[in-house]
């Protein structure tokens, strides 16, 4: 494997661990390796920064969604209303 390919695989792994870390699913060992990689990889550093930023922004917004059951019941009611009104 050429040098270039090796770096690419490393970066792929690093971004994967970085993604997992956003959901607190990365192990300590993985995070340690990621941090070592970040020391010399600027691209991954940028990615990591943006990724963390996205997580904090979403947390800050306190965004919420309706759950699936609720949406299903809404759909049913709309369907029924469509039939009743014969639209």
């Amino acid at each position: 494997m050429s040098d270039k390919n090796k770096t690419a695989t490393r970066c792929d792994k690093a971004t994967h661990v970085c993604d997992k870390a956003q959901y607190k699913e990365a192990t300590i060992w993985e995070k340690l390796k990621l941090n070592i990689h970040l020391i010399f990889c600027g691209t991954c550093r940028d990615y990591s920064k943006n990724n963390a930023c996205l997580t904090s922004v979403i947390e800050k917004s306190k965004i919420c969604c309706l759950d699936k059951a609720c949406k299903e019941s809404m759909k049913k009611q709309i369907d029924q209303a469509i039939k009743e009104n014969d639209l």
Binding site: T15, C64, M74
Partner: protein
């Protein structure tokens, strides 16, 4: 200019979350907010012929929702006695004699500006989310916003964990870029 079309069958998938967030910022009650969103859809159905296609479907639905929210506040305020402001020095005898200063709201309470910013941010996130491919948006929503476990999502959508992480990665990259353009 092409006219906007209307398609009630897709309303829930496309706008339910957006409308819900809009409502929850104004009425801090989950059940009421859900009901109002539902009412908005039904009212939208009834007045579908009035939809001229000048605004987008979402704008149109929001304008209905705004009326619903105003109506809701009118209704709770028209219950007798609720509209009047009652200032009692104290309702219970226990705190009798306490200083009024001790009853003022928490200084660390959220300011109005924070609330406003959060709401705008929520809308920006929804806008970005609606630009993602459907599958990516769904996985991102389940994982990041609703905070489900990886396993649960994999079972539900019938995908492998590595598949899920690839989708998450693409969605996160797209979301970060989109929010960078529209928010920061």
């Amino acid at each position: 200019m092409s006219k906007h079309t209307i398609n009630p069958n897709k309303w829930v998938d496309l706008y339910a979350d957006y409308l819900y967030n809009y409502t929850i910022a104004r009425i801090n009650d989950k059940d009421v907010a859900q009901d109002l969103v539902q009412d908005t859809f039904l009212a939208g159905l009834k007045s579908m012929k009035n939809f001229k296609g000048e605004a987008s479907e979402r704008t149109w639905l929001i304008s209905i929702l705004k009326r619903k929210i105003i109506d809701y506040y009118r209704k709770i305020n028209s219950n007798k006695g609720k509209a009047e402001v009652r200032i009692n020095y104290s309702e219970d005898s226990e705190s009798d004699g306490d200083w009024l200063e001790e009853r003022v709201a928490d200084a660390f309470d959220k300011t109005a500006q924070d609330t406003m910013e959060n709401e705008e941010l929520g809308q920006a996130i929804h806008n970005c989310l609606s630009k993602l491919p459907k599958k990516q948006a769904e996985v991102f929503r389940l994982k990041t916003i609703e905070g489900h476990e990886t396993e649960v999502i994999c079972n539900e959508l019938n995908i492998t964990p590595s598949n899920l992480w690839v989708i998450i990665h693409r969605a996160r990259t797209a979301m970060a870029n989109c929010l960078k353009e529209n928010w920061f």
